[in-house]
């Protein structure tokens, strides 16, 4: 029989690579976060600082503002994506010519690099080049300027995210809708239930686990958005679209204040883990069949 040693040898490259590029960075960032370390300061060495960096974070208004806009962005983007995605998934449920073709086109944005999505929307919305400001100006006389209006920049980043990720929601919900058994629906129609009644009392409870899983996946991805926003607005105007990843990239990383930067990274990681854990236990774990 085969010895387990060979199994460990096969597993070794994976463990070694993930240890050096996944686990060690994590341990290292936690270690540095408890120190004062700025190579260009008067004392360029690491000085133990206990929880000093973390105390500073609580009063860091830029960081807290960034958390705020991130939460607002994630909420509006994911909510819209799920509603639109559900409508589109329902629109796929009946038979019509060219269904596979439309589905293929609808999947297209998923494979585009986030940074390219950012550049596409920058070209769409930059005043005097983009088509959207031009159309708004000539049709309703509205002046859309994502370089100046915080609200416009915020809404455009959400629009971009909806364009990029709604297809994922649509396709996962199609998979859920297809797998539903037809009997309850036929029974409800025989009993004379209306469209909304069927939706609220039959469809929604039955696809709830799939919707929750989709929301979970989308939330995790939306929380880490960086590339697209960096390209589209650079976090501006001001700090209107400086979502947490953008904040780290633009404000924390370029400064050589390594100790404080590490502390922010640790806090963001911790918050992400907490949010994911709450979502996971609150939404995915109670996957028991409902009593009807």
């Amino acid at each position: 029989m085969k010895s387990n040693t060979f199994g460990w040898i096969l597993l070794a490259p994976t463990i070694v690579v993930l240890f050096f590029f996944g686990v060690l960075p994590f341990l290292y960032v936690v270690y540095v976060s408890f120190h004062q370390w700025n190579p260009f300061a008067a004392n360029p060495n690491m000085i133990y600082n206990a929880a000093g960096n973390f105390r500073q974070i609580v009063f860091d208004s830029a960081f807290l503002a960034s958390l705020g806009v991130t939460v607002a962005f994630v909420f509006f983007a994911v909510l819209t994506e799920v509603v639109v995605g559900y409508v589109l998934a329902q629109a796929f449920m009946s038979d019509f010519p060219g269904k596979a073709f439309f589905r293929t086109i609808h999947t297209l944005p998923l494979i585009i690099a986030p940074i390219i999505v950012g550049s596409i929307w920058k070209l769409m919305t930059t005043p005097s080049i983009g088509i959207i400001p031009h159309l708004l100006q000539s049709s309703v006389g509205f002046d859309l300027n994502i370089g100046q209006s915080a609200a416009a920049a915020f809404i455009i980043t959400i629009t971009m995210d909806i364009w990029h990720w709604t297809p994922l929601v649509t396709l996962t919900l199609i998979a859920a809708l297809v797998s539903l058994p037809p009997d309850p629906f036929e029974q409800a129609q025989i009993d004379g239930a209306g469209k909304w009644q069927i939706f609220w009392h039959i469809t929604l409870p039955m696809i709830a686990p799939a919707v929750m899983a989709t929301v979970f996946i989308r939330l995790m991805d939306a929380l880490r958005i960086v590339d697209e926003v960096l390209m589209l607005t650079g976090g501006g105007p001001g700090s209107a679209t400086r979502y947490i990843g953008v904040h780290i990239f633009r404000e924390v990383f370029p400064r050589t204040n390594y100790g404080y930067g590490s502390a922010i990274s640790v806090v963001v990681l911790y918050l992400t883990i907490v949010v994911c854990w709450l979502l996971y236990t609150g939404m995915l774990a109670p996957r028991k069949p409902r009593k009807g």
Binding site: D95, H106, I116, A175, A213, R224, S265
Partner: protein, 278 residues
């Protein structure tokens, strides 16, 4: 259920497809518009096609270098992660290793963390800790190939596991009885049977590495710069070369589109970590 007329659906989906495709079409329009025409009234209809931006991108040795880096890094990373992932899956599937399910779950946690959090620690480790004499992994292709393993290797393991588990163990055992070495069993019995799954994994990890921007932007300066980071260099505060930017975007887009047409059905399963089959 009652039959509904299909035409409203077709019209609806034509509209949705238009909304999906128009931004990409607009990217193309900008890329073939000469710079002196850019700031005149934006027009949806192409007046004439000018390939100057494309020839400029191809003629630029720096950008050609970035393109080569992108190609080498994503290919190297895809091959490395698929190979390591395949070995790991074989080990997890066929050996009775203690704590193997914990190891399997641990691999995915590496992918869940937001990459922005790892910018600083990876930068510090690459510059200050992982060094042999004067050689560091910062701004090297091999460094980027290894760094990309943090998100691609978990993906490879999670997508390959069902494939490897699906190969009947009896085949291995029959080969062992015939006196084959464990290595021969992997390369000559299991590997050929896993080829379709390996191909999908190879292609998707390749795209993920090709599309990556954030880590490449912080961990490379020039020697290992990729096309996505090169693109951001054309967006500056003093003025953006819009046409060039659009042309680079198209160049970055093309490989992904080719890949898309090949593995379209697997993309959703890939992006949701197999939670949903596409």
């Amino acid at each position: 259920m009652k039959k509904k007329a299909p035409w409203p659906y077709v019209l609806f989906w034509i509209l949705i497809s238009f909304l999906t495709l128009f931004p990409i079409y607009w990217l193309f329009v900008i890329s073939v518009t000469p710079s002196f025409e850019l700031f005149s009234t934006p027009s949806v209809i192409l007046r004439h096609v000018d390939w100057q931006n494309y020839t400029e991108v191809i003629g630029n040795p720096t950008l050609r270098g970035y393109m080569m880096n992108s190609l080498l890094i994503s290919s190297g990373n895809a091959i490395l992660t698929t190979t390591f992932g395949f070995f790991a899956c074989y080990a997890l599937s066929r050996f009775n290793l203690s704590g193997k399910e914990s190891i399997f779950f641990w691999t995915i946690t590496n992918r869940m963390a937001p990459p922005a959090v790892f910018l600083l620690p990876l930068f510090l480790l690459l510059t200050k800790v992982y060094r042999i004499e004067g050689f560091t992994l910062l701004d090297t292709r091999i460094g980027m190939i290894l760094v990309y393993c943090t998100f691609n290797l978990p993906f490879a393991i999670w997508t390959l596991r069902p494939t490897v588990d699906g190969i009947p163990k009896e085949l291995d055992e029959a080969a062992f009885v015939d006196g084959a070495s464990p290595w021969k069993v992997i390369t000559e019995v299991v590997f050929p049977l896993c080829r379709p799954g390996l191909a999908v994994t190879l292609i998707l990890t390749w795209v993920f590495a090709w599309n990556e921007y954030l880590l490449a932007a912080t961990l490379t300066n020039f020697n290992a710069r990729t096309l996505t980071t090169g693109l951001s260099e054309y967006v500056t505060t003093t003025g953006t070369a819009w046409g060039i930017m659009a042309a680079i975007s198209i160049f970055t887009l093309i490989p992904a589109l080719i890949v898309f047409s090949v593995v379209q059905r697997h993309i959703v399963a890939g992006l949701t970590f197999g939670a949903v089959k596409g």
